[in-house]
């Protein structure tokens, strides 16, 4: 064994050498000296490693990482929920069905005569804009729905009144001005062809009961 082979085949840890390596060290004074230094250095590094093993990351880091883990897990849950495609579809389908029912009730019996030489525009179902509120009607003896539902509401023709303590929802929709006029809302004739914003009160069974006009600024 030569010097190069001796150093190339030293074990990574410990001072155990093979018989051949021990024989080389016994014969080579230079390697013998270096080997002693090497052992002293490795022993020193081992002591340093033992001392440094007490050093750890500050304990506050664990709390921070656990919070990050929870946040990350929560994010995954939220993403999973967002992937439930049927949730928004169901919501929009329900709203659309309700507003179609309102429109049908409002325009029932009212069909403007066709103007000769023109083609009637295709019917568009009222588009729900936003659900405004879910309300519990106060108990009252009055037959006036405005008193129950709030200012500006007019009960729809042939619709039963909102009963005391009855749940109802208010949905904001776009409706033809003509339908509002038919429902008894005060609206000028020149706006009959416009689509106007309206709040519709829906009973818990989904039937429309009352309506009111929303001003152009979006508030009643």
């Amino acid at each position: 064994m030569n010097c190069q082979e001796f150093w190339d085949h030293l074990p990574q840890r410990g001072h155990d050498v093979t018989e051949a390596q021990a024989g080389h060290v016994a014969e080579c004074a230079a390697c013998n000296t270096q080997w002693k230094q090497h052992r002293a250095l490795v022993d020193g590094l081992r002591s340093m490693a033992e001392e440094w093993r007490k050093v750890e990351a500050p304990s506050r880091m664990e709390a921070g990482l656990m919070a990050a883990f929870r946040s990350h897990s929560g994010f995954q849950v939220r993403r999973a929920l967002q992937r439930s495609w049927w949730t928004p579809v169901f919501a929009w389908a329900s709203a659309a069905a309700a507003t179609i029912a309102i429109a049908a009730l409002l325009v029932r019996g009212y069909q403007p005569p066709p103007v000769p030489g023109t083609v009637a525009a295709p019917h568009r179902a009222p588009r729900p804009v936003v659900q405004v509120a879910s309300v519990l009607a106060p108990e009252t003896d009055s037959d006036d729905d405005s008193a129950v539902l709030g200012e500006g509401f007019v009960r729809l023709p042939n619709a039963p009144s909102i009963g005391p303590n009855e749940d109802f929802n208010v949905v904001r929709v776009e409706l033809p001005g003509s339908a509002m006029i038919e429902a008894g809302i005060s609206l000028s004739e020149d706006r009959a062809a416009e689509r106007v914003l309206a709040d519709v009160a829906l009973a818990s069974d989904g039937t429309p009961r009352a309506v009111r006009l929303v001003s152009d600024g979006g508030t009643y």
Binding site: L41, V42, M48, A49, M61, L65, M66
Partner: protein
Amino acid sequence: MAQYSAQTDDELLLRLRNGDEQAFAALYRRRQGAIYRFTLHMSGSPAAAEDITQEVFLALLREDCGYDRERGTLSGYLFGIARKLVLRNLERGRGDVPLEPETDDASPRELAIIDDPLAGLTRHEAIEALRRAVHALPRRYREVVVLCDLEELDYAEAAVALGCPIGTVRSRMHRARALLLDKLNQDRKPRLAVDAWKPMRYAI
């Protein structure tokens, strides 16, 4: 928590990927010390070491973190991330340890022939002298000493962390220890060490 201590790193990783917070905590407690010490030795800054250690474990939360058990252990992978982050940190100039010029000096080494460069020092003095010597090493040698001697990774794990062949790790270790001995001898007995130097090519 006891049930987690018997599990391998890979098993804990699988659990944490399935949302097991305790598995993440167990893996962190098992590995944080070594990663923090490595980054502290390499950056010289407790603040940087803290940031980097945190980033290393946050990387585990990403599904595409890049760990492949076929290529090495999770421990080696974590050290590898830590090393990259340390290098990025040093490149930004935020490291507190001034980098020495990176040279691949292939000239024959001169070795001091003092039998024990730490002889006569108290344990505390010896450790402090060693710490200074390790921190004075050029980065590529410092990292192998920290990984293999101080954190006791085997050469294969260190090779994964450093992204180099095992033979390179071995040769860098040999060179790093020679540099450490030089530094220790110069610090302790400058005149004696200089007088005693002999060219290695004559010694071998």
